[in-house]
Symmetry: C2
Subunit: 679 residues, 2 copies
């Protein structure tokens, strides 16, 4: 590398700083960085973008704040708690196949789900203590079971995060429609609009949206307990009536079979999905992190069980009927409170918690994507932090997928539910299987011995047998539930997920394969390093003769390498004009070679020419220089041919070819004399 003015200008910056000049390059960098900070970090301000998304954040501003248990409950529990908004209703909907007579089966089913939740809570408590740095299923599976299971757990979770958004938003909008039936015709539009708003909120960043959680979650918990309290009071005083104005269930469609009961159980099993959220987010808690997270998990399970059983019991008492006109929550609310302020508050609280639940996925999905991408199983772009330090690509992807699901399933919770929760239970199974393996590793450790794995520290534990048994029970139970899910809901939509997850895993491994291949191909060990000089054959593409062409010729001359000018004749009349002008203004610099293009392809003949040159001189670089007109506005730009990308695309598969764009800016709406000149 030879020193030149630019080099000197970068170096001279160093002298002005009172630091060891041997550290020259970093100092120069520091200098420029300072100027960047002080003067204009953003050469092109985009006020609209900043208004919507907020000002950009510095990398150094990455949040390190932690939260207490009360806020933690609000942040992580909304997903789980919100499922009471639809779980009871979905159980009743399945039982309705056998007739309203069998609705009472809902209570034992809810009881079974509560038992499942207890087991899951105890099992995950152990994961939380084992992985204080964050114990999502992906990490636990990767740490103990290897890449295949980890990718499977990840694929399952990603699927379910998307479904969480779709189901929660669909259910939230159904609550609104229960109160305001006139909005029914805009159901899908409202859902999609909400998803877009959530996308924007999350692109603004986690800090703001995290804080907003506490209010709605506690508002919902308060409203639910108020509903239950008033409901039970009126029940015991005999003043609780039955729901009115909902169409009663018609004829029985089939008998009550075990299959149907299991299907109803599956429909209700959407509640435990929030467990994963807490064990994923341990690092967000204040110290002692694990203990705080575990306590929050216990609180959450307790609140969830109470609400779920209470709502199911009261729904049966008021003879609530599953209906696509009005949700069970709405029926319960207006039977308990009457159609008044409290009813509307209950609907508002339910809608709010559902939106918060969807928001949980907006935090989890991009983070999990970034984990996958960091390991090379998803596109690397998912690890880039955007404008506001959030994983922008993941957020946009999630919003897009969830919106597609809403549109395809017409915004109906009942149609989406069969797809939901299989993924979560699959990941639960993987995660707890990982824990079982981990306890086996611990079993061979002596007291005081410590082994560090990628994600956690293994220490001797005298009660490992008990703890392993607990995780094994959790693993078996969630595995069975997942299979029950897939079988009983298969024909209703679960088949989509059953097909999708293996395809995702396959895709992840193909992406990994690609990155591995590229890494090998680019490796400096793979082949001898060649930084020698080679001959450079320069082709100057002449489309027309104008000031932009002159600048390009000037640039080609300035490079100091021999060059030839070539024109592709697409329209004969234009070619004549171009040739005449060339001979008049530039004839002294050599001929303009005209290559005909009978099929009007601009790139074809040049590709042909370059191939020939490469065949004759495989050792040479071919440098293709072209002028590109740039107008001030994008609208103006659209009025020009813009063939640059075409050429780039045509040449990019050829090795040893460089494409040089010489931009010529046309001062739109300016007088020619004011047009910017090179000098």
């Amino acid at each position: 590398m030879k020193a030149n003015t630019l080099d000197r200008s970068l170096r001279s910056a160093t002298d002005r700083l009172p630091i060891d000049p041997t550290d020259g390059l970093e100092l120069a960098a520091a200098e420029i960085a300072e100027q960047i900070d002080a003067e204009e970090a953003h050469p092109e301000p985009r006020p609209l973008m900043h208004l919507i998304l907020g000002r950009p954040l510095e990398t150094a501003a990455a949040p390190h704040q932690t939260i207490g248990k009360a806020i933690g409950l609000a942040v992580f529990a909304s997903d789980a708690l919100s499922s009471v908004a639809y779980a009871t209703q979905e159980i009743l909907l399945v039982l309705a196949v056998a007739g309203a007579l069998y609705f009472s089966f809902a209570l034992p089913i809810a009881g079974a789900i509560a038992v499942l939740l207890v087991v899951l809570t105890l099992s995950y408590r152990q994961t939380i203590f084992a992985y204080p740095g964050g114990g999502g299923a992906y990490i636990v599976a990767r740490d103990n079971l290897g890449e295949g299971p980890a990718q499977t757990a990840g694929a399952a979770l990603l699927t379910d995060y998307v479904l969480t958004v779709s189901v929660s938003i669909a259910s939230g909008v159904e609550q609104i429609i229960s109160a305001f039936p006139n909005l029914r015709m805009y159901q899908v539009e409202i859902c999609v609009g909400m998803i877009l708003v959530m996308m924007l909120v999350n692109l603004r960043g986690v800090k703001e949206s995290g804080r907003a959680f506490a209010g709605p979650t506690y508002f919902f918990i308060g409203m639910m307990f108020l509903t239950l309290g008033v409901g039970f009071y009126r029940l015991f005083t005999g003043t609780l009536g039955q729901v009115e104005g909902v169409e009663t269930i018609g004829a029985t469609v089939g008998p009550l079979t075990l299959f149907l009961i299991l299907r109803a159980f599956s429909s209700g099993c959407t509640a435990p999905t929030g467990v994963e959220a807490i064990s994923n987010g341990i690092t967000a808690f204040k110290e002692p992190k694990s203990r705080n997270a575990a306590t929050t998990l216990a609180w959450m399970s307790g609140i969830l069980m109470t609400m779920f059983l209470g709502i199911t019991y009261l729904a049966l008492q008021i003879h609530a009927i599953p209906s696509d006109q009005e949700t069970v929550i709405s029926q319960l609310g207006r039977t308990v409170f009457g159609r008044g302020t409290f009813y509307l508050l209950e609907i508002a609280a339910t809608t709010a918690i559902l939106i918060m639940a969807a928001n949980t996925s907006f935090a989890d999905f991009p983070r999990l994507c970034a984990l996958h991408a960091g390991d090379g199983f998803l596109p690397r772009q998912l690890t880039y932090r955007g404008h506001r330090l959030v994983f922008s690509w993941g957020i946009v992807t999630l919003a897009g997928l969830a919106a597609v699901l809403i549109v395809v399933f017409n915004g109906s919770t009942s149609l989406l539910i069969p797809l939901y929760a299989i993924g979560v239970f699959l990941s639960f199974t993987m995660s707890q299987a990982g824990m079982v393996v981990r306890w086996r590793k611990i079993s061979v450790l002596k007291p005081g011995e410590e082994v560090h794995t990628g994600g956690s520290t293994l220490r001797h534990d005298p009660r490992w047998r008990l703890k392993q048994a607990l995780n094994a029970i959790g693993c078996a139970l969630t595995g069975v539930v997942m299979i029950v899910f897939a079988v009983t809901k298969f024909s209703q939509g679960a088949w989509i997920v059953v097909i999708l997850i293996p395809l995702l895993v396959l895709g992840f491994f193909r992406i990994h394969h690609h990155y591995q291949n590229v890494k090998r191909a680019l490796s400096l060990q793979a082949r001898p390093i060649d930084v020698r000089t080679h001959p450079v054959e320069t082709i100057v593409l002449v489309n027309d003769i104008h000031q932009g062409t002159m600048q390009m010729i000037s640039f080609a001359e300035s490079l100091g390498k021999p060059w030839v000018a070539v024109h592709v004749a697409v329209r004969p009349e234009k070619t004549e004009r171009v040739l005449a002008k060339w001979n008049k203004y530039l004839g002294d610099r050599g001929p303009l070679y005209v290559i005909p293009s009978p099929y009007r392809s601009l790139t074809g003949p040049i590709v042909r020419l370059v191939k020939e040159v490469k065949r004759e001189h495989p050792d040479a670089f071919v440098n293709i220089i072209m002028a590109q007109l740039v107008t001030k506005s994008i609208w103006g730009q659209l009025l020009h041919r813009n063939s640059g990308p075409l050429f780039k695309f045509a040449f990019q598969q050829m090795q040893g070819v460089a494409v040089t764009d010489v931009h010529y800016r046309v001062g739109e709406l300016e007088q020619p004399s004011q047009a910017p000149a090179l000098e």
Copy 2:
């Protein structure tokens, strides 16, 4: 320009040809052209595209075939003739506001429209003889009235071509639905599907689609005369019944006012739109072109009048009722023929002619767009002939706009009709006003004197007064009709067109302004021509250190200009790795300057640097060299950062900056040893 190997290789091709070597450059071009023809005109075959659109056509293959009167009628008359499929119905629909009692007014209204058609035919006959090279409203207005009126006429016509597609397709699908009511729920989808198919057919090229016209048009004419013949026979023998099974019109909505009659008249006035088509397409006829075209126009008008009056008369006799369940044509068909083969043939013929009518616009709209674009009032891309020599951009634009209209107006003919035909009548008025001006110019010519204008030749004509009067009557009549249209249909949708056409004209002039400005800015007269050499400051962007980087460094060295390497530090951990590798492999070539980017912008710091260099050395070119990884598949490409376009966008507004892409192809799924090397 210095001679180099490439230059020699282009020249050496000349020697092998037995032609005067002084003509070197064209010979070299010819040589390559020959090779192109013989070997591989299309380096990357796209079989799917060829299957759908056909093989590409050579420029030399542009069609020069001409057609006779019989085919000419089929090609140009479908637009006009097809309007009988909905004109009667739309008249009745308006009269229904006053009650079915007043349906008989439809006949005098149809009579008035017939008179209008006669005047228009006589007036346009003169245009056809005056403009043997094609006498569309745009050309006639431009020739006689100037740019403003010409653009207005063009905007009006373009609007109406889009509406012709929408209305014809909507009506065609309504005919199908009349016969097969089960398809009603897919009405909009069928319409959009048809438009897409027509787009593809037309992208294949005019020759094939032109030939396909004759059958359907004559089939339709035959079926309509058969319907009328059998209908009148049964009417006179007293065996023609009344239509059954259509809901009768309910309560009267308002009184029969003159306003309502005028509105009914407007709705029926969609028939004459085909007149423009013939006068636009004169050059397609066999010699004597003008006479053949005029005769065809007369035939068309005669057939149209007969069918329109006949259908209206019979529709009244069978007490046809305008309905959105069944078209009047369908009611007439099944009353005359009964529900059998002939009825289905009639529906098929009507649908076919409507599709053909839409197809007329697919020929006319792109051609008119190309005229506008050639004059610089629409984006220049509209003048490019695609793959199959057709104006691809115009075809795609038309299909897109027509499909949007169909979706917005829910595929309903009745909702679209109020927007329709205003544009055509506006262009009629402009065109005939132009003819009036032209006769005035002719009036001052002496016998034998000739004046050539852009589009036609002015010759003395002793009967100019009579002919001017005829055009003036046509102009006044169509002008009045247009105003009646706009007023009576304003609130029903015509306001859209009334607002749209001026906006289009404004847009056309803004585009023109842009092209004029660019032309001035690029003019070689505007500023001194500068093709001197300047200093070149070369910046090599280093994102990572791998084989692609080595190739880039090799290229930078090969250029032989001094250069500096710069790395933008977006992620600190990566920067450290890159610096270490640089020092290990390339440290001997100079330092790698690291510029921090606190807001993770890749381009911002480089833009900042380039600006500084440009400030210090306004005379210098800045050449930015970057390596770009290219994978074999597009899917693979998506897995990489692809920041190239970002940089190009960031620098394109800066004068005197060149961006050089050095592509490095990664052999995906290949063993590294097989990866393509530079040498």
